[in-house]
């Protein structure tokens, strides 16, 4: 039965130890084919093993279309993603990743002010490399690190040209964010990625700025095929005697897949009918464009369907 491929298969082509508990991983296609495109500062989900998926910003630039480069700092207090990458991922290993998402909508004319803490610099490295490739110099990066910064090689020309202000917080005080962005209050774009206190200071500093002129790097969740807006409900599969709860972020199809049910899926958008399933109880919400009113009385297109009541029973 069909189980659609959901990830891009890549291979680790390079692992570099940059010191300071940081490693840089380069992912490529096995035949060096172009990878799906991305915007400056976009991020990908890296599927490390079942149940272990982590999101990292790409630090290379969109024109470098055959590689995904990520830099990962080992988080001693982390939940295992960075440790797995540091300890278990080697050159030659296959790694599945999501399609890239997000990215920074750079201002082509006004000044782009980037504020980064430590490894939070990665999306801005991508953005700076993108701007540099185009010969654009309308940016400035304020980058605070404890000790030596870890990826300066990737933006060496920008550092040389004086467009990067480095702060070693073991020796000097942290950047005053309000002062930095205040200078550009009337124009341009301000973006920040770093530890929580830095993000909070940044948010305060740009609180009155219009939304399209500020960017706080937060990883955006994958877009669902059909956005679910109903409260969670119980799902019971009568033929296999399995229960689960369908939450808006998992959706009906996602829940079925997580239960190990192999539903044939083709279009994923409610138009082909591949994923029709019989239902026997509940208040199904039909969002497809395939079933007739009569068919809807006993069948549901699960890639876009949902339930308006507390419980849905499917004949699976």
């Amino acid at each position: 039965m069909a189980k659609a491929i959901k990830t891009v298969s890549t291979v680790v082509s390079k692992v570099e130890d940059l010191g300071n508990d940081t490693k840089r991983f380069t992912l490529v296609d096995q035949d060096d084919w172009e990878l799906p495109p991305f915007r400056p500062g976009a991020h990908i989900d890296v599927h490390l093993e079942p149940g272990l998926v982590r999101t990292y910003s790409l630090c290379n630039e969109p024109d470098d279309g055959r590689r995904y480069v990520i830099a990962v700092k080992r988080e001693r207090e982390g939940r295992g993603g960075s440790a797995f990458l540091h300890d278990r991922v080697q050159v030659g290993q296959p790694v599945s990743v999501s399609l890239p998402r997000g990215g920074i909508a750079l201002d082509p004319e006004g000044t782009n002010v980037f504020v980064a803490g430590g490894i939070g610099v990665t999306p801005f490295i991508s953005a700076i490399r993108h701007l540099d490739r185009r010969g654009l110099t309308n940016y400035v990066l304020h980058w605070a690190s404890r000790g030596q910064p870890v990826l300066p090689d990737m933006i060496a020309p920008a550092i040389k040209a004086g467009r990067v202000r480095l702060y070693d917080t073991t020796e000097e005080s942290k950047p005053i964010i309000a002062g930095i962005v205040g200078e550009f209050g009337g124009s341009g774009l301000a973006a920040c990625c770093g530890p929580d206190p830095m993000l909070q200071a940044f948010e305060q500093a740009v609180a009155t700025w219009p939304d399209d002129r500020k960017h706080i790097e937060m990883f955006t969740p994958p877009k669902l095929a059909a956005k679910s807006d109903v409260p969670p409900y119980e799902l019971y599969l009568s033929a296999s005697n399995k229960h689960a709860v369908v939450t808006p972020d998992m959706g009906l199809l996602g829940t079925l897949e997580s239960m190990g049910v192999d539903v044939p899926v083709s279009c994923g958008g409610g138009i082909c009918g591949a994923c029709r399933v019989r239902w026997t109880e509940g208040l199904p919400i039909h969002r497809d464009r395939v079933l007739s009113p009569t068919e809807r009385q006993s069948e549901l297109i699960v890639c876009v369907g949902d339930c308006a009541g507390p419980r849905l029973v499917l004949d699976l």
Partner: protein
């Protein structure tokens, strides 16, 4: 089917089109590359493409599909997307293998026709895939319904080149 429906069925007897672009990609989600020629293998697919039967690595790789050995798309649809929806879609973005011009794809289901020196048989209309919006970042799913191209089986293989003629048998 009643008599009226039969009467309404379009009869397409004389047409002749041309191959404008050729594309393939070895794996799901990877961008399509444009080629001046591709190799069609009878009953299997395109050499090096993700849906080559026996070596599937496409989006539906667990579901080898007999009838999707090669896929076609109309140049005219790209023009219509631009005209009616303001969407710029490049030939390498629709994710079908062959972009043709002057070929009434929607009327060919069930028929055999010539693609250059090869012969293919149209099995069904393609349906768009939600992922195409994610891949392209363009809202093309709805506009592509009913004009998403044609899936075909390869009856007689051979080399297909840009500029080759497409015609009925």
């Amino acid at each position: 089917m009643d008599a009226q429906a039969i009467e309404k069925k379009p009869v397409v007897t004389s047409w002749q089109g041309v191959v404008r672009f050729l594309h393939k990609t070895p794996r799901a989600f990877l961008p399509m590359r444009t080629f001046p020629e591709i190799e069609l293998i009878a009953s299997r697919g395109i050499d090096g493409d993700r849906y080559l039967i026996g070596q599937e690595t496409g989006f539906y790789s667990h579901k080898p599909e007999e009838g999707r050995q090669i896929t076609l798309f109309e140049m005219e649809t790209l023009e219509a997307l631009k005209r009616d929806h303001g969407i710029d879609m490049l030939p390498e973005e629709h994710r079908r293998n062959v972009t043709v011009e002057g070929v009434p794809l929607n009327h060919l289901v069930g028929r055999r026709f010539r693609l250059g020196e090869t012969i293919v048989e149209a099995t069904r209309l393609s349906t768009p895939c939600r992922h195409i919006e994610e891949i392209l970042g363009k809202p093309v799913f709805d506009p592509m319904i009913n004009r998403s191209g044609l899936n075909c089986k390869i009856i007689v293989g051979g080399t297909l080149r840009v500029g080759d003629t497409v015609r009925p048998i």
